[in-house]
Amino acid sequence: MTYPIKRERILKTFRTLVEFNTPSGQERDVADWLSAAMNQLGFEVTEDGAGRNIRSNLAEVDKAVHDDRPAGNLICRKKGTAEGPTLLFSSHMDTVVPNPNVKVIETDGVLHTDKNTILGADDKAGITAMLEAAHVLAESKMEHPDLEFIFTVSEETGLDGARQLDASELKAKAAFNMDSGGPPDEIIYAAPAETDFHIKIKGKAAHSGVNPEDGINAIVVAAHAISKLQVGRIDEETTVNIGIISGGCKTNMVPDSVEIIGEARSLSQDKLAEQLANIQSAFHRAADKFQAEVDIKELPMYEGYVMKASDEVVQLAQSACRKIGLSPKLAPRGGGSDANVYNQKGIPCVNVGVGAKDDHTVQEQVKIDHLLQAASLILGIIECSLQPQQEQQHEPEQEQHLAEAL
C-alpha cells in the first residue's frame, strides 16, 4: 500500500523546520509556524501553559536563556470522518544545542549538516512525518478517526513539556510517539524508568601541606564511594551512570565539598530501586569511613513502560508497518522519551523510529527514505485503526523475542 505522500514537500517541510533555532525553552517561533500550518490543514490548535509553568520553576539564571513568552505544547485536534478509537501522534519541537544556522546537506539520500551544528532530525523528522500525514489527510478522501496531534516543548531537558500535558483533555486510547533514533520499522515497546541522583559530600578544609591531617578530602570520599559502585550496564534492562563530578578549587586546600550527578535506569522498578539503594549505601559507607557528611537527593525523572505484543497499540504499529511493506521489529530502548510520559498518564504509547541517527551530535543524519516511511507509517496506523482487528496471525516467534528481551 502506498499513500500519496510527496517527497519534495517532505524535504521542504524538513528544511524549514530545522532552520528554526529551537533550544529547549525557545520553541516560540517554530510553535507559531506549526500552529498556523496545522490550522490550515484543518486541525483545531490549542497551546497549553507548559512553557510558562516550566519557566516559573527555573532558577533566575536559566530564565535568562528562556523565551519570556515561552511556547507551550501544541494540541492539534481533527474530528474523525469515521468511527474508530481516537489516535494520538506526538513529536517534540525542541532540539539540543548547537543548533543555530543549520545547513542541511544531502549526500546519497542522506541529510546531514556541515558538522558545525546538529541536524535536529531529533525530533523534526517526527514533526515532518506528522505534517506530511496531515497534508495527505487534508488533500485526500482518506478516512480517519478523531486525531490528536501533539507537539511538545522541552523534551530534551527531561520530558518537561509532556509532563505538563493535561491527560483529562486527551481522548486517545492509543498513542504513537514519533521520536526514536531507529528506522520506522522499529517499534519501541519498552523503555526504562529513570531516577537521577544529586549527591553532595561535605568534608573539611585544611591546608594541604601544613595540616592535611586536620582535613577531610571530599574528593577522596567520592572516589572511594564510586570505586565501590557498579556503573554502566548492570544487566540487560538496567544501567547506572555518574554523569558529572565537580569539586575543589585549588591544589593547596584539602577540598571540603564535591558534587556528583548521575542516573539509574531500569525496565524493572525493583531493579531500579536496588541500584539506588546500592548507591545510597556506597556513599554513606564512604562518608562514614572518612567522617564526612553526605546528602543524596533522588529525583525520579519518568516511569518506564513495557508493552505486550498483544497490546492494541503494538498491534496497530506492527500492522501499519506491514501495510507499507516493512517488517516490524519490536525493540526495547535504553532512553526515555515522551512515550514514557503518555504511558504514565494512562495512554498506551509506543515510540516509533523516525531515523535520526547519531542524534545529539554534529554527525546527526537522517535518511530521506526514513522520512518518507515515517509519514506513510502514520497514515498506515490511521488506516489500520479503522479496520476490524483482523485475526493477527499468532506469532510465537515474536512473543519469544519479547520474552527474551525482557
Binding site: D196, S208, A223, H224, I226, R233, I245, G248, T251
Partner: protein, 374 residues
Amino acid sequence: MIEVNRQRLIQEFMELVQIDSESKQERSMADRIRQTLEPLGVVFEEDDAGTKLGGSTGNLIGRLPGTIDKPAILFTCHMDTVAPGKGVKPIRLEDRITSDGTTVLGSDDKAGVTALIEMVRVIKEQQLDHGPLVLLFTICEEIGLMGSRSLDPSVVEGIAYGFAFDSNGPIGDIVTQAPAQNRIEVVVHGKKAHAGVNPEAGISAIQVAAHAISKMKLGRVDNETTANIGIIGGGVPPATNIVIDRVEVVAEARSSNLNKLEEQTVHMRECFEQTAADFHTKADIQVFQMYSSISFPDDAEIVSIAKRAVTTIGRTPRTFRTGGGSDANVLNGLGLPTLNLAVGYENIHTVEEFIRLDDLYLGVKLIVAVTQCI
C-alpha cells in the same frame, strides 16, 4: 644596641596596609617602596615579572652598597596580599593592629615590607656598618609564588645568604625545613556513550579516576611528606545521560625530602596510569616542579647567623618545619641558601588577621640584627 622609632614604625605600617595591593595589582606598593627607599641610597630595578604575569608591576630588586667588606645578603618579602584586601581600614588597639573585620589586614606580608624599610632607616640613622644588602620585594606570592618563580636566576649571583621575612610563628622562629612541591595535572580519558542505550560501549572516565584516587596514599603521608587531590571536574551539566570521556584532576605532592617527593609523585602517577590501563584507556599526566625545598641542618652556617640575630634581640631561637611554600623555597631552588623568618602575624588570610605592636617592633630589630650578625 639597636634603637627603633616605634611611633614611626607603626605609622609606616598603618600607611602601607592602606595601599591596595592584591596579587597582580602591586603597582602602588612598589611606587611607595621606591619613593621611601631611593632617597636613602637604595638603587632599584624592576624586573619583567609583571609583564609575564599580567600584573601592574614586576618584582622590585633594591641594592644598598655595603659600608664594609662582608658577604652580600638578601632579604625578601612580598608586596601582594590575598583578597579581600582592598580598602583596608587598620584599627590600632592597645597592643595590636587589626582590620575592621571586612578585609584582611595585610600584615602578611606588609609587616615584612615595613621591617625592611625601617631596617634601612635604622642602619642609616645609627650609621651601622653592613655588607652589601639586596632587598627583594616580590609580586604574586599569594597566587603560587608566581613572582619569585619569574625571577631571573642571575638575581642571586654573588649573594651569600637569603632571609625571607614571611612565616607564621612568633619572632625568633626560623623555618629550616619546608617541602618542595610538585603539581600533578591529570586528564583521565574514557570513551563517550549514551548512558541508557549503550553504556557498555563507553568507558567512564569518572569511574577510572575514582578507582585511581581510591588506591592512593594521600593527606599526611609521613612527617615530611603530604599529598592532596585538590580539584576534580568532569561531565557537562545537566547531562547525566552521557558516559563521560574526560575527567580532569589537579593534585600535588610535597616533601622536604626530594627522594620521597619523587617516590610519592611516581606513586600517584602509577595509580592513574595503571588504573587507566586496567580499564583499557589512558591517563595523561603532567608533573610541574613548583618550587624546591628548604632543608638546613640546625648547625648550618645560615642557621647559626639567624639564631645569633634572634638571641641578640633577646628572644629564644627555635627552628621548625613547615608544610607550606614561600618565596624562600624558590630562592633555594635558584641556589641561594635562604631561611624563612617568622613575622608574628596571626590569623592570616582571614578578616581576623592581626599583628601585635611588640612583634612589629621586634621584627625590625631582628632584621637589623641579621645585618650585624654576618
